[in-house]
Amino acid sequence: MLRINDLTVGHCPDTPVLRSASMVLPPHGVHAVIGPNGAGKTTLLHTIAGHLRPTAGHIVLDGHDITGIRPTRAARTGIALAPQGRLLWPSLTVHDHLAITRPTTRKQDRGQSWSLDQLLDLFPELAGRLRHRAHQLSGGEQQMLTIARALRLAPRLLLCDEPTEGLAPTAAARIRTALAGLPRYGVTVLIALPQTRFATALAHTVHVMTSGRISPALDPEIDDADVLIRRHLGLTTAQPSSGPRSPMAVAAGHQPPTHSRCPSSRDDS
């Protein structure tokens, strides 16, 4: 489905974030990229979706080279991105978000098509908020809308950047079920996650990403999830140091500083 060869990409020319990263995603499955903050997960997803231009390497989707295509073309090729940071359109209502987004690919290239009702079944929290503007939503509701919008494109390749961030456990579970069901419709899903537990429970293959490089695929069914996690942890940081590290801890048990009692109202002009 998706093949990435020696991809090099960065935000400024001199310091690439991904360095010769390669990865192969078999079709019709859920795949996860896990890695610590700053590993480059978001960068990878944005590059596939066309928001960043790689300086070297190739991205091949179903045999077509899509390296460096524009986001518009990427969407029309069947790639949808549910970005991190909920990039919604603040002045549009929830309903508008879902109404203006529609599948842009030819019928036979589409993944599962979601009607408005189906999406509201998936996210009942949004049903009562259809007339609200995006900036009036709670954090979790925004996250739901981001994913609903991506699903609405009926993509062949769905890129989800930390999809469950800020979601309550029940909502997260619903998303998990929905994503797990997508491969049946011929959709390939790529999720970027910082934690391992969601990935190991859901994904068919897991890639570990550290400082701009992507590990070969690991199969959580075969590989022991614990081993995977440990490998992941081992790759990320040294053992967290024990004992109090806070400078505040020095003052622990003492009374609060008295100099910052209520300031006089004069200060606040």
Binding site: H11, P13, L52, P83
Partner: protein
């Protein structure tokens, strides 16, 4: 030697100069320029440059509000008008001492801007722009209507010249007037730039994320109000300077047209660069009043051309011009790096 290499050399030279003498490069460059102008025997040149400085100082004040406080404003003409008409009346009633006039004008400007700011700083973006447009229009209308004070729509003329100190000759000769106006402009700009540099990180914080700044205990609107009021004092001084260099005033001088020129000069000058704004104001007036003289009637055309050219050639303003040249030079030296579109995550949220 090819033109390309020459440009490269120049860019490199500028960069090196910039690196070595950055803090005083600006003021000293201006000082040299003013001295060069003053050294010429050409009275017309002196007078012409001197007349541009009030608008330059007004642009500095607008830059402080627009660039640093993040409130795009056309309303600084209100304190400008307050300073100018106050100075005019002081002069007409016999107080011709320049320092006294400057002081009173600064106070009048600050007071006007303080009142106006109390309304403006509660708003952001386009609303501020339109409210300040209303302020500019109201200023000009009042200046036209309040005939006893402002002389009506034809304004005031023949205002007595100022004296630098008691007993010194009146500031009428072109060269002393230029030196005086340049000194005031450069001093005021430098002082404002230094003050703003000290508080720059605070103002950036307020602009970037107001609720975060407030949650860290910063009275954000208070900071904006202080900046607005301080800039008002600067505009008041600019108003006094207008009277000193022109010795007449009409409502059109404190209306929308002046406000728009000052704001556009700020855009050309570069965000948050006070000397850039002043330079751009001088540039704009040079194009309108000097460069366009051989083609009478086509000054707007030239001015329009300047604006369009500035948008494309100076994307980050005059302030970034040296750095811009350097990158051009650097790009010549190395093969061009591929441009990358910024990722959406780069944007600030709604």
């Amino acid at each position: 030697m090819s033109v390309d290499t020459l440009t490269d050399l120049a860019a490199g030279r500028i960069l090196r100069l910039q690196r070595r003498a950055r803090p005083w490069a600006g003021p000293s460059l201006v000082a040299v320029a003013v001295a060069a102008v003053a050294a010429t025997p050409d009275g017309y040149l002196h007078a012409t440059v001197a007349r541009m400085l009030p608008l330059a100082l007004l642009a500095v004040s607008v830059a402080a509000v627009t660039g640093h406080a993040g409130l795009p404003t056309l309303g600084q003409v209100a304190p400008y008008a307050a300073g100018a008409y106050t100075t005019a009346h002081l002069a007409l009633t016999g107080v011709t001492l320049a320092p006294a006039q400057l002081l009173v004008a600064a106070v009048a400007g600050a007071a006007t801007a303080g009142l106006l700011g109390a309304l403006l700083v509660r708003y952001r973006g386009t609303v501020v722009l339109m409210l300040s447009l209303a302020a500019a229009e109201l200023t000009a209308i009042t200046a036209g209507q309040w005939r006893t004070v402002t002389g009506g729509t034809d304004g005031l003329a023949g205002i007595p010249a100022a004296h630098l100190l008691p007993g010194t000759p009146a500031l009428t000769a072109d060269r002393p007037l230029l030196l005086y106006a340049a000194t005031i402009t450069v001093t005021a700009t430098t002082a404002a730039a230094c003050l703003l540099r000290r508080w720059q990180s605070l103002l950036t914080a307020v602009r970037d994320n107001e609720s975060r700044a407030a949650a860290s205990g910063h009275p954000t609107t208070g900071y904006l109000w202080i900046t607005h009021t301080g800039a008002g004092a600067l505009a008041g001084i600019a108003g006094a300077l207008l009277i000193h260099t022109h010795r007449w005033i009409t409502p059109a001088d404190v209306g929308f047209g002046t406000a728009a020129l000052a704001l556009l000069a700020v855009v050309i000058g570069g965000p948050r660069c006070l000397p850039g704004a002043a330079t751009a104001a001088v540039l704009v007036l040079t194009v309108r009043d000097v460069a366009a003289a051989p083609w009478p009637g086509h000054a707007p055309l030239l001015l329009g051309g300047l604006f369009v050219a500035a948008v494309y050639l100076l994307p980050d303003g005059l302030a970034a011009l040296p750095a811009h040249l350097t990158t051009v030079a650097a790009r010549r030296a190395r093969p061009a790096a591929r441009h990358t579109t910024p990722p959406p995550a780069d944007r600030s949220p709604a």
